[in-house]
Amino acid sequence: MKLYEKTAGDLSRLLQNKEVSAVEVVSDFLDRIEAVEPYLKAFITHTPALALETAREVDQRRVMGETLHPLAGVPVAVKDNICTENIRTTCASKILENYIPPYSATVITALQKAGMPILGKTNMDEFAMGSSTENSAFFVTHNPWDTSRVPGGSSGGSAVAVSAGMAPLALGSDTGGSVRQPASFCGVIGLRPTYGRVSRYGLIAFASSLDQIGPFALTAEDCAMLMSVISGHDPLDSTSISEDVPAYFDEFDYKPEGLRVGIIKENVSDHFDPEIKAAVLSLVAKLEEDGAVVEEVSLPLTDYGLGAYYLIAPSEASSNLGRYDGVRYGYNAGGDDIENMFSNTRGAGFGAEVKRRIMIGTYALSAGYYDAYYLKAMQVRTMIRRDYEKAFKRHDLLVGATSPTTAFKIGEKTDDPLQMYLSDICNITDALAGLPSLSIPSGIHSEGVPMGMQLTASPFREKLLLQVADYLEKRGLSLGRRPDLDFPEGGFC
């Protein structure tokens, strides 16, 4: 078995037992990237020299007998909206095409402290706005299970990197499904942590009340390991939470005896792909066989979630993206006075979806509309939170599909923004409520591509989500299955 085929947990054990060196591990992933990246296009920026430098340091420290972090030497890919000092960070936007951050995000500092080599910065929908990674200003990323399909989005590049064995672990960000939906489309695990669990310092802001950085992994153990690196309070992010970080992977002999599971009726709707629905129900049946108490539950406000989300997220985006004016950083289109310079720069620097959201948000916040749109949506958000609070009095875990469909074809939804938005319909309400939510692969569809199941818990219960995922893995669900990739030399992209 090649090193790139191994899980992060296995690599960690091999490294700790000195059976392999970090340089060998990183080199194997770099070779794998070279072989498959031309067909998949998951990365905007590759950082092989930096990854090898980190690996060499880790190896030296291990030789000196230092006690290292379990993930020291295990490489990781990072979404290109997370700032990396001295490494270009573009947000997949023309407006930041040449942006070199003068500082690193807190999660990057944490990865470096753990000794995790960074392999590169991954492709995404511009400013994380989208569900297919087709909104990247640079190029389209292909789904490794079927290269004619999208990888999902907005963290499509990170999902592909893990799915195709180009990285054992990756970081993405989830505002309204941007980790979970691509995880389900690519057959990997993706976790949206509780809002505030992971520092947002250095994550380029889209919608600040919703944005959370989250891990992609092959197994529950791997996901737990990466979560323990990135979780915790950060004085640089005033919305980060001081709640203690549990040991996410110390009790993986979990049994679902007495676990109260609610199947969200709206997230196994009859309008969804029937195979996706059947896969969710069959996994829930496994939990029930081993003692879980399963009931159907309705979250009637799900229908209103999309409306509230598409007012709140664009409103916050229109404000956050006000900073791109061609003055301090980024693209500058020039102009004969300052207002023209702002408008020219923003008009030429942003892509179509980003402009749409800025327009919706500006409209919703403009004089005379604020109460009817933004304020109303924030009130609906309170109602959605209460819906969940009620559900969590009766249930420990809420489950359903991650997305109504499997990965769709490249180009299929690019002309219809509303159809694209509906791809995240199952991911929006729990994001609005700030809840931790995990997507796990639920099986392979008859079309040969992965399907996903979503598990949501009350705030700070990430560990429960990971324990249940680990349990299902041990019951024979192959969470870490990767597609067979057999590309000829060269590449078509």
Binding site: I241, V327, N332, D337, K355, R356, K376, T382
Partner: protein, 101 residues
């Protein structure tokens, strides 16, 4: 509230400092009307007396000590400036009386 975004697109683009060409405006007006019609669905809900949520997780406001910490060095702050003059970001005239740069 029926929304006709065609009437609003110029005004909103100006507020957003977003230069859109006529083709973009036409396409966007149609798409935004559709998106806002969907968002309108929330008007069906009675939200009388409900507190708006601005932060989802209830937490006490954390105060930090009022101590000055070092900032980034000037050159690092200016390293991404598209136009720079000495230690300043350079911009076109704000008052309209200067020549454009």
């Amino acid at each position: 509230m029926a929304i006709d975004f065609y009437a609003e697109v110029d005004y909103v683009a100006r507020l957003a400092r977003l230069n859109l060409d006529p083709g973009e405006k036409e396409k966007m007006a149609g798409q935004l009307s559709g998106i806002l019609d969907t968002a309108e669905k929330i008007q069906e809900l009675d939200t009388e007396g409900i507190e708006p949520t601005s932060h989802v997780i209830d937490l006490p406001a954390l105060l930090r000590d009022d101590v000055i910490k070092p900032s980034l060095p000037l050159n690092r702050v200016l390293q991404n400036a598209p136009r720079r003059q000495k230690d300043f970001f350079r911009v076109p005239s704000i008052t309209g009386s200067d020549q454009p740069d």
